[in-house]
Symmetry: C2
Subunit: 391 residues, 2 copies
């Protein structure tokens, strides 16, 4: 791959994490007015950048995702999180495209966040500045620029990754050839703010959280974070999916225990979701990233009219929603598509019938995959990228 | 009012709470096979019992409700919780009917529960036996019998109060003249078990919970209970209601704080819901009652066929659901009504268009109130109760 060589940037790789660090001369300017420096971005790339740098795809990950979209995460040992979409021969074909995925600002997989070490040698904790989705995207733009790429062939993401994709189109209209927001919205709803707030309160209620200073004290607020994850996880699944997967099936027993063990499979499943999450995620990162998403209201940033956010954006869009997604229901995606069309953009909308809820974009959904592959292929042709050749 | 005088029962009233205690000679036989004694029921009545005892209405309260359905709770100072439905001139007219409302088994408003004092002088805590909705109803039946009432004119309730109403019809078909289940279902869904489990885990994650022994230690697990309440409260409201009430409105500020204060009104509202709840509710009661509801599956109790639960029940039913209720969606109520009709019961179903979500049954919903008043009136005529006369 191509690497920029500016002395201002410090590229490195250790423990399987590739990072770039921007020094004090290149602070990240935050929506709050604060500046963040130094600022490190953990990122991964797949495939080869074409000589003319025309084939770069930026994949934006969701709330608790990471940069390992198509290959195992060397830190956690988990498999890549989007194997059906990104990889050789997949809709985003790594034989054809140069795929970049960066850990979001505030994350805990190499990018600067509250768990990072402050220049004073202690973890940032709550001293880390509160940021927005626009700030996440600004940081990604710094990475993309450092990679020498002036225009992304595509920006794609699901859930809050889709918010980032929309934000890219709004903030850098001339640096995005195509944009694929999936299972997302241009604004976070009251219900979603409410669910996020429950998660934050669960974390902050854990005495081990210690006002965010737990890393210094050495014990993490695991119980609170697990509860936060459990509450959120319900919103990722549809009622139908929970019914189909679990209904009222009991967990390794013939009858209920008349107690508070996990009698039901759905309880056992949720507890497992909570427990496995705390091993890989930082509680303060959860606070900060959810806060950034709460603040996301693209129309609000453009005088109340969403169409204004996309005015003059020459990108072609394909937006996806899933019928049973109640975390980011189709209605919100349709609002964004209406605004795109009102702004004169080329925009398609695909609503996929699915009972899998919000997580459908991560699961097997052939109709989604086929439509996405078709859109990517058509966009690649329009961009003059020849199919099937490794650049 | 009429009071039974059996020496086996101990009627009392103190601190504004009326109770009846059943002694060791009248234990409550629980679904688990255990027996509970002594067993106290806190209850309230409104109106006068007719000489022939034909006009008794049992109102069953929801998860965190109490027996003060139509008048202020003398302990908490809160107003009656169903003022639009129960009272003089209301659909359940206390000038006409003798209304009984009892705190559910496991509750914390006078009825035996985990916060009650065990015969050994310490609070029961987790030693209290786990019970079911059927057990709640069995306890209510003991109260009704002690009041000398052989047949209830009506059993009515919303949410888990509606489950109790259905359970009454199934368990005591000949002691119920009419039955009104509202915003409920004959079985708790996987999604609802999941939400309840989040609440329980939030409580148990609070170190002050101390394996349920907090009353002995003197500090309650208030933070965990508040988180549990916040998570549950979201399920009581519809996405539309949250949007209408709060959308993204800020709380007493012009712009976001870039911090973790309650920037949004919906956050402030939820925090208030959590805080005010812990002052009036016991954390262990929350564990036990949610567990009872998890276990509710009326078809399961009758060999898998819900219609069998209602076979030979001569009661007339009117079931209500609210279009935007996603906690107990109309589909679940319709399943119950189908079973009632399959069982040959006289059953009506009213689906009320409302954007207020599950809590609609507690709020101003004229269509609901009119239909309910009409059903009650027709049932009273069928029962031979003359309108407008105080017995």
């Amino acid at each position: 791959m191509s690497r920029a060589t500016s002395p201002l940037r410090n590229w490195s790789s250790s423990g399987g994490l590739r990072t770039i660090t921007f020094g004090d001369d290149q602070p990240l300017h935050l929506s709050s007015g604060e500046k963040l420096s130094p600022m490190t971005i953990g990122y991964e790339t797949y495939g080869e950048l074409a000589p003319d740098k025309s084939n770069a795809v930026l994949v934006c990950h969701a709330l608790t995702g990471d940069q390992f979209v198509a290959g195992a995460n060397p830190v956690t040992g988990r498999a890549g999180w989007w194997p059906r979409i990104v990889g050789p021969g997949k809709p985003i074909d790594t034989n054809r495209f140069f795929v970049i995925c960066a850990n979001v600002l505030g994350g805990c997989m190499g990018t600067s966040g509250p768990a990072s070490i402050h220049p004073d040698g202690r973890p940032w904790g709550l001293r880390f500045p509160v940021f927005t989705v626009a700030d996440m995207v600004r940081a990604q733009a710094m990475l993309v620029e450092a990679l020498g790429i002036s225009e992304l062939f595509c920006v794609i993401g699901g859930s809050i990754g889709g918010m980032q994709a929309l934000q890219w189109a709004a903030a850098y209209p001339n640096r995005v050839f195509s944009c694929v927001p999936i299972a997302t919205a241009a604004r976070h709803s009251a219900q979603n703010i409410a669910f996020y707030e429950v998660g934050r309160q669960a974390i902050m209620a854990d005495p081990e959280w210690r006002e965010g200073d737990y890393l210094f004290h050495g014990v993490r607020p695991s119980k609170g974070l697990a509860v936060a994850r459990m509450a959120a996880h319900i919103t990722y699944l549809s009622e139908q999916a929970l019914h189909r997967k679990f209904d009222r099936a009991l967990q390794e027993r013939e009858q209920v225990s008349f107690g508070f063990d996990a009698d039901f499979q759905v309880e056992s499943y949720l507890r497992h979701q909570g427990q496995s999450f705390v091993d890989r995620f930082d509680a303060n990162s959860y606070l900060y990233i959810t806060r950034a998403v709460d603040y996301f209201d693209l129309a609000g940033d453009f005088g109340g009219a969403l169409a204004r956010a996309f005015k003059d954006c020459p990108a072609r869009f394909c937006a996806f929603a899933f019928s049973s997604d109640w975390h980011y229901p189709p209605e919100g995606m349709k609002d964004a598509v209406r605004a795109l069309i009102a702004a004169g953009c080329e925009a398609s909308y695909v609503e996929v019938e699915s009972d899998k809820g919000h997580d459908a974009f991560l699961l097997e959904e052939p109709a989604f995959e086929h439509a996405l592959a078709g859109f990517i292929d058509a966009a690649a042709q329009a961009r003059g990228l020849v199919k099937g050749t490794t650049p």
